[in-house]
Symmetry: C2
Subunit: 159 residues, 2 copies
């Protein structure tokens, strides 16, 4: 249920230079091409690697404002229909149900602070949403990353 040191190196290599082919990877890692192919296939099959999609920066598209919105929902209706409606809003990038006083946690983006108000209004209009609370992300000193975790996973497995 975990990964190898070679797996970790392979992921790190691909993360650093994603346009690399299988052959080039095998050369840099000092293993046979078939091994790299097998490892990639296995990790894809196990769900460790879910894809190689292009990483798009919303800020470069003009969505320079990021905010986190927590929701309280009418518990009668359940959270699934609410989530479905939230999913219909393009500016809602992510939705989680959470523990604590609130029920849901969303990441949203907008073109400006004024535009954020529009997006929040869309969320408030969702049937089942009772109350929202927003905080704006001012800066992102650590952008989303998995590499340190990947580098650590083999160690965790051994120890």
């Amino acid at each position: 249920m975990t990964i190898d040191h070679l797996d970790a190196r392979l992921i790190a290599l691909l993360a650093a230079e994603p346009r690399l082919g299988v052959l080039e990877c095998s050369r840099r890692l000092g293993v046979a091409r078939g091994t790299v192919q097998a490892r990639l296939d296995r990790m894809a099959a196990r769900g460790v690697i879910t894809g190689y999609g292009p990483d798009v920066d919303p800020a470069a598209l003009g969505y320079v404002v990021t905010a986190f919105v927590t929701l309280q929902i009418r518990q009668i209706s359940g959270h699934v229909p609410v989530a479905d409606q939230l999913a219909a809003i393009p500016e809602v990038l992510e939705v989680h149900t959470i523990t604590g006083g609130d029920d849901m946690h969303c990441r949203v983006v907008a073109r400006s602070n004024a535009d954020l108000q529009r997006v929040i209004d869309l969320i408030v209009e969702v049937h089942g949403v009772v109350r929202t609370s927003s905080v704006i992300a001012l800066d992102t000193p650590v952008p989303y990353r998995v590499l340190p975790l990947v580098a650590d996973a083999p160690r965790q497995a051994k120890g």
Copy 2:
């Protein structure tokens, strides 16, 4: 500062089948190969596409618990040294500074609820952190996605 409808289709296509080559993309989109290459180069240059790194699922690595931790920090020290120390913890996937009563917002993962306690302890030990508050993500009805935004961006530009 925004993207084309063709750009959007190209990103959507690559997101759906990331292993596709440039030539195959050009065939499916009904344009010349050079056009696809030019578009990809331009989007990469503009920062719209930041990379093609392998998407790793922490859950598949055994990190099945996701939590959001908000921090209050000692304002004297500033947030940069705190962020640096947080960045040294592999389980901390993301850090933002935020508006509101708290100062920072982190996404963390752990192998279990008990393991989450260990990670939170690591965060509390960070010099400058005064108080933390955590919520656990129970479910993720909308996982992180940018495609709807990408599909919407050309429309926003026109209208």
